[in-house]
Every structure is written in structure tokens, then in C-alpha cells.
Symmetry: C2
């Protein structure tokens, strides 16, 4: 019966990931892709709930670390870009003055970003004097106001964030959550008295990322991107890449240390304790709905999604069995559901008048981590029959239902963490020479201490992309794959989304 249903719903096998992923996001009711604009999906209730629970993890981390939530306008007047142009000029001047190229990002991408934005040049029947664009990210909007908020050192650090939609005119193929044109986006922006304090912020960001990645049990590689892949205007960028089942990496988050480059362009100064005026040092930290895409991709299986408990729209689905035979069944199910809710669990009672097997099947697709079946015999025994979405079934005591459910969900979380470690060890393979064959679906770990030219030749010869210096170096020195020099620098080569 399960198989019939499966055929009916048409889930491709997960081994065919590029077919499975776009199918499951619709079959599990996360999104509807039939909205008539490419790359702009409709969030269905189940998908939106999952996203909001991921956002809740972010909000909690922001509160723990003293970030304040703000909300800036969507539209940005074109003339504010003048200041970004000043940033470009500043970077060019620095280059001409001979600043070490590894210390500054030098390119014209800041100018070039206008190729990716949606423009608003008309309102009603009026041609706007100053065209505006939909935020692709909020540096320009925020850094226009920050100088009004920051007067003295006592206003620092300024730690703000917002969760908003951003817009990019993607010309590449779009994929739900992974590459879309309207992006559910998190962005933290901070300002500090000096470079060191900003560096500490980056360290805090990485701690936050670590907590969230652990809650979501995602297999990640954290790397300092090479200079040419650094965010425009940043001193350096640290990116968090998830290993997806097809062996591609998906950048789900990034942190940027701006030093005082943006502050210079936006006149973001403060009066220091000695009365002098100094530039702020800044950081940003971004994440997006790609987190949900990574959860879907990492944990799902041939039968559907599997949600790590902390992001699950429903923790426990309760299925009354043979409720027509005993009034006690619905009473017990409802009272257990109520008790679990009061203890902070998200529950759902499936009292639909269909066969139990169909219900099991439906909730498997939706990835609910724990299913409880309760029939007359279970009640006699004082137990509920618990089935974990990650496998394993057993009766658990109704009397201790809250602690039993806590244990079951912890087991799901542990099982997912274990699978994540396994994904990591299977998909990340060492590469010690360029003589062997490059296999699709593998992320190659290398020792590498070469320069930009070395990196370029490495990318060319493998057809893969270099992720950057891993923040976790090798414990012992190994020979660099290019030069043979001994180094602890760890790097990765992968196909990126």
C-alpha cells in the first residue's frame, strides 16, 4: 500500500537527487512553483512553518548575543549608490598605492551589481525623478542611517539584524530555496570601534553558525574564501558550505569583515574616548532560505523529508487507531497531545477518516520526526507505539510521555548527526596528487598553500572550484598539492551550486 501511494505521489528515488529535490519540495507541500514568475515560489503553510522555525533559531541566537532587530525599507534610491561608487574609488586608489592585494578586494563588482537588481522607475502614472531598486542586500540602505545613529564610542558596538526578502534578477536556472529571485534572507550588520572588535564579532558569528548548523545537523565546511571570491568591499569573507547529496556544495551563510572600507565611503565615524574621530569597523553576516533547502536535501530519503526536531513544523503526529471501538482512544490521544503541547512540543492529531497506513505514509513524506499510534490495546497496556522517522519502533509509557517523547526526539537528532558525520566521511575524500581521476559527486580535501595563480591552475585542471582556507587546519603538516611544501592549510575542491 505504501508503495502504491508512493507511485501515486511520484517521488523519484533520492539517488537521482536532481529529480528528487524539485519533486519533494512540492510533494511535501513546502512550496507551489506554479506562480507565474520564474524563481518566485509561493510558500505553502507547511513550508512557511519550517522556515519560521529555522528563523526562530536565528532570532534566539541574535537575542542571546545582544543583536537588535530592525526593519529597513525595501526600496533604495539610485543616488545612494554614489557612496558605493566612492567605495570603489577608494579600493582602486588603494590598489594604485600598492596595498597588498591579499589585503583588499579589488574589483568593479560593486558597480556591476546593477545587472542583478529589479528597478522601480515608475509609480502610478509618474516617471520617478530618482529611480529606485529592490534591495539585493541592505548595506546601502543601512549605512545611510548608521552615521546618524553612531556618534560616540558609547554607541558601539552597534549590533543589528533583520529578516526580510531580498531580490536578485537571476539569469541561471532557478531551484526552490537554493536559487530564487525573491529570497527569504537574514542579514546582521555590526559596527565596532576597531578591527580587533570586528574580528571578535566574526568569531561570535561563527559560534552562532555552529549552533544553528548543529541544530539542523548539516554537514558543513567553513572556509575563508579566496580573494577573488570575497564579497565586494570586504577585507575577507568566511563562507559556510553544506555538502549536498549530489556532491555539490551549497553556500548557506557567509560572514564578512569590512574593516573600515565601507565606513570610509559612508562617513561612518565616531568620537573616541580621547576626542578624536575614527572610522568604524564593520561586519556583516548573512543566511537565507537555503538553510531550508539544505535541510531538505541533507536529511530526506526515498520516502520523503526528515526534519531535525528543532526545525520540524510538527514534532509528533498522533494517530488514533480503531477509535470506533473505544471512546477512550480519542480521549487519550487528545489528552496526550494537550500535555505535549503544554510541554512545548508541536503536535498534530490526524483524525482523518482514512486508513492508518495512508496516514503513516503521508507523515513520512512530510518528515515528522515522531509518530505515535494509540489504539485500545495500547491504552490497556499504558503505552503508545512510537515510530521514529529515522527508523526504529517501540512502545513507550503514556505515564512518562513527556520524557519518553523527549528521548525519542533526541534519538532522532542523534541519528541525524551520525548520518551527517557519515555523509562527511563518505563524500569528502583526500586528494594528494592531480594524476588520478576526478570523480563526480566527491568533495576533495587538499593541502594547499599556493598563490592565486596556483589556485587558478588547480581549478582548471580539476574542473572544480576552490572553497578557500578551511577554518579547521590539518593537525599535522602535509605536502601542498601544487608545490609540495609542507603546510597545515586545508582546502577543498568542489562543484558549487
Amino acid at each position: 500500500m505504501g508503495n502504491q501511494g508512493k507511485a501515486k505521489r511520484g517521488i523519484p528515488p533520492k539517488s537521482d537527487f536532481n529529480a528528487w529535490y524539485p519533486a519533494i519540495v512540492e510533494i511535501a507541500d513546502l512550496v507551489d512553483k506554479r506562480y507565474p514568475i520564474k524563481g518566485m515560489d509561493v510558500w505553502r503553510p507547511y513550508g512557511w512553518k519550517a522556515m519560521k522555525y529555522i528563523d526562530a533559531l536565528t532570532h534566539a541566537e541574535m537575542e542571546r548575543t545582544g543583536h537588535d532587530e530592525v526593519h529597513f525599507p525595501l526600496l533604495i534610491p539610485e543616488d545612494l549608490l554614489e557612496k558605493e561608487n566612492r567605495l570603489v574609488a577608494h579600493l582602486k586608489a588603494a590598489r594604485e598605492a600598492g596595498v597588498d592585494p591579499s589585503e583588499l578586494r579589488f574589483d568593479e563588482e560593486v558597480e556591476g551589481f546593477s545587472k542583478e537588481v529589479y528597478w522601480v522607475k515608475h509609480a502610478g502614472e509618474t516617471d520617478l525623478d530618482v529611480p529606485m531598486f529592490l534591495r539585493p542586500t541592505s548595506e546601502t540602505a543601512m549605512y545611510t542611517l548608521f552615521p546618524l545613529w553612531i556618534r560616540s564610542h558609547s554607541d558601539l558596538p552597534l549590533k543589528t539584524y533583520q529578516i526580510v526578502n531580498t531580490f536578485r534578477y537571476e539569469t541561471k536556472q532557478t531551484r526552490s530555496f537554493i536559487r530564487v529571485r525573491e529570497i527569504h534572507f537574514f542579514e546582521a550588520h555590526t559596527a565596532h570601534i576597531d578591527e580587533e572588535c570586528a574580528s571578535k564579532q566574526i568569531a561570535e558569528d561563527l559560534e552562532i553558525v555552529g549552533n544553528i548548523m548543529s541544530d539542523l545537523s548539516l554537514p558543513v565546511i567553513i572556509s575563508k574564501r579566496p580573494v577573488w571570491d570575497t564579497f565586494p568591499g570586504a577585507w575577507y569573507t568566511i563562507a559556510i558550505d553544506v555538502i549536498m547529496p549530489n556532491g555539490r556544495t551549497l553556500q548557506v551563510a557567509s560572514c564578512h569583515h569590512y574593516r573600515d572600507q565601507w565606513a570610509e565611503a559612508f562617513d561612518m565615524t565616531y568620537e573616541s574616548e580621547d576626542g578624536s574621530h575614527k572610522n568604524c569597523h564593520q561586519t556583516t553576516y548573512g543566511m537565507s532560505e537555503r538553510l531550508l533547502g539544505a535541510v531538505v536535501g541533507t536529511h530526506g530519503d526515498d520516502n520523503g523529508l526528515i526534519f531535525p526536531p528543532k526545525s520540524a513544523p510538527i514534532h509528533v503526529v498522533l494517530i488514533p487507531v480503531a477509535a470506533h471501538k473505544s471512546e477512550a482512544v480519542m480521549e487519550t490521544v487528545n489528552s496526550i497531545s494537550k500535555l505535549l503541547r503544554e510541554s512545548g512540543f508541536r503536535t498534530h492529531v490526524d483524525d482523518r477518516n482514512i486508513r492508518a497506513g495512508q496516514k503513516y505514509y503521508d507523515w513520512e513524506i512530510k518528515g515528522v520526526p515522531l509518530r505515535l499510534e494509540i489504539g485500545p490495546r495500547d491504552i490497556e497496556n499504558g503505552t503508545a507505539f512510537a515510530a521514529r522517522r529515522t527508523g526504529g519502533k517501540q512502545p513507550i509509557s503514556i505515564k512518562n510521555i513527556v520524557s519518553e517523547v523527549t528521548n525519542e526526539l533526541n534519538e532522532v537528532q542523534q541519528e541525524l548527526s551520525q548520518r551527517t558525520s557519515q555523509i562527511f566521511s563518505e563524500m569528502v575524500q583526500p586528494l594528494t596528487s592531480l594524476d588520478g581521476e576526478i570523480v563526480d559527486g566527491i568533495i576533495y580535501e587538499i593541502a594547499f598553500d599556493g598563490n592565486d595563480a596556483d589556485a587558478e591552475s588547480l581549478e582548471k585542471s580539476t574542473g572544480l572550484t576552490i572553497l578557500g582556507d578551511c577554518v579547521v587546519p590539518f593537525p599535522d603538516e602535509k605536502p601542498c598539492i601544487i608545490s609540495g611544501r609542507m603546510t597545515t592549510k586545508r582546502n577543498h575542491l568542489a562543484r558549487m551550486y
Copy 2:
């Protein structure tokens, strides 16, 4: 000292409401109006928190009543408007067929709305084939997908909502929260099997509105709008108007019964139990950030904001007094704060190194409903000194702090409700003849059972706007202000925002 500070912060007296309101929204750190687009404010952390707590009341009501949260794209392709044009054509045809004009909204405003939208006609360096606009509201976007979601009667009722930003190119003077161009907006959209079920939805909406208005202690008049003030495409509109201190009414919410007019235009049909295909009947229910504007306007005073506890970003601010004299002070303050937080209260400990008087004054401006002062002598007595923002001070027992704080906040809520009743009785005055003088700042209550022409002459002679049939009629008949016929129909004349 309080007065010095007051002068410094420059709060105008609330009696000069049109000066007080725009000043207090910035002085209390709700918004920053210096963003360089008219009518698009930056939400500062304190304002955004207040809005989110109001949203939380809405989310809770939506969950209680079984509405599912969705999230639709911001951009709407122009060609979807074809269906709205079909709606206009349908309404015109009905008019020509002689349908009772009180039964249908006939006008071309659906066509005319394009005067109010922001257009996106360019993306990157591309001219878009199909121009798109930023949603002014989401009927068009949603009703394009609803027909794909609704197949049979078992899919109904469909009860959805979203909280998103909407955009209107306002040409009138803008005011924070009240008239802005980027609007923080709530919209519920439902579909039902027939007119009666849709009518029941409107009744449920009014119950929800009632709960929220009561939580926020707002003085409201609920009226069925006259035909010419009905939402385009609606059978009827029920509007919720708040009485603002300057005597103007502010529409903060509205519910629309669409019958099957939109369904007809968007092919929104379902298979009924007898196998026939029928049109859905629909409703919408909208609210916006105007709720926060109404909270600010209704409850504030010369010293700043006053938040009703349910929307307060901070319920209780704790002020340690003479903490340098006794280590026990900070310990006690922190442990009380912790205990209150664990009991669900939003607390803040103000341990800044400034005079206590300045702290009192700052938190008065921000409208925190309850202040607790705790010093060495209070601790000796086992009490905290409680000061309600609505007036009244007394020591309360630390031992029973949770129940004491609950009581204090209930008293604040009761006091605000009482003030709201008083606002109502002072500002709403009966008008029984058109001979007397019309006084600015008064809302006139009238008995009225006239037709459109009578209403028009009434508006002309008073210079006020007719709000519509109040949903609470007079208990006894009174003579209609125009015809003298006896009627229980209650109506109001007011200057509207």
C-alpha cells in the same frame, strides 16, 4: 529634572496632537524618518518589537480559528490583471442587467488602482516583456493559485493569511504608521462553499477584531461602509475605525464579503457533493501597522507612550536603587527579572550609571507599563516599589512578585480600558438636527436610514464623512436625521484619516 529632560527631548503637549504624534514616534525610538524616501520609515528595534507583539496577537487569533499562514511573492505580473478586468466587466454587466445597486459595488476603481502601484519594468539591463508591480494587496496573486488548490467541497473552507509588506504610491501627506508607502500589512483570504458560510467567516473576523481591539484597549466604531465606500469587487465592507485624540477616525481594519464575484472572474469553482461545479464565495480581512499608530495615538500622554501590556515591548523595567551601597540590590533585581521572565513577562534591567530620575523619565517616554524600583531598604522590607505608567505607586511583596506584577499589569489594562470608554463618551456626541454648529474634533452619532443621495447631502452640509451603518444599532427607534422616519439604524459622521 523631569521637566528639564522633557524640554530637552522636546515632546509637544498631547493636546496639540498633530505636533505630538509625529514627534513622539521618533522620540520614543519607534521609527527613524530620515530614510531618503518619503513615507518609508526605518523601523527601529523598539518600534519593530511593538509591531511584532501586535502581530503575535494576530497570529494567535489566526491559529485559534484555523487559518494557515502562507507567503506569496511580492511581484505581480501585469497580465494577471486581465482577470481583474473580467471582474470589472462582470460588475458592469450586472449593473446593466439591473441588479439592485445596493447589492453590488459598481465602479471602475479596480481599473484605476494602477495609479497607486509601483511598477517594475526593468531588471538588470533588461526591459521586462511583462511589466510587474509591487503588491498593493494580494487578491490577484492569491486568486491565481487558489483555483489550483481548490478542487472539491472537501478543500473548503480554505482559510489563509499572510503578514507581508504592501506598497502604495501615496500622493497625500505621509504619517508614520498611519499613511505610509511601504505598509506592514496583515491579510486573510478565505474561500467557502456558499454565501452563508462566507458570512459566518465575516462574523468570526469581527470576533477576532473584537479580541484584538480589546487587548489593545482601542476605542472603535464598527460600521458597514456605504456602497460607494465598499472595496472594489466586494458585496459589502465592514470597517473598524479608531477614534483618534484629534477627533479624526482611523480605519485600522476591514472585512470584505466578496460573494462569488472574484471567484467568477478567477474561475474559482469546486465540485460540490452532488457533483455539480459551483463558484466559491470569498472573504478578506485586512489590518496594518495602523494598529500601532492607534495604540500610540490613543494611549500616549504628555510624558510619552503608554503601551497596553499585551503589545508592550517591555512589561516591567527594573531599576536598582543605590546598588553601590548593597550587593544584595543587583542580585535581587536580577533574580526578580529572571523569575518574571520565566513566568512569561518581558523585563528589562536598567543598570545604566545615570541618575534614577533620568531612568524613570526615559521609560515613561517609552511607555513601559510597570516600573519596579528596588533599593537596600526595599529589600529589608521584602518589597519592591511599583509605579504604574498610568499612575499609582505602592510597595509590592517580593515573595509574591509574579502574582503582584500580574495584578499591577491588569490594573494598567483596566485603567486604559476605562480611559477608552471615557474617550468614547466624550468624543462621540449625538447629533439630532443639522441646525447646530459642527464642532471640530467631535464624532457625531446619528439615526439615519436615508439613501445615497441623503448621505451625500449629509456629508456636504456637515463637511464630514459618513462611516456607515454601525453594527450595533440603537436599542430603541429614533427619528432619522434627514427624513424623520423612526429607525434603529445608527451611523456616524467624522473626519477620517
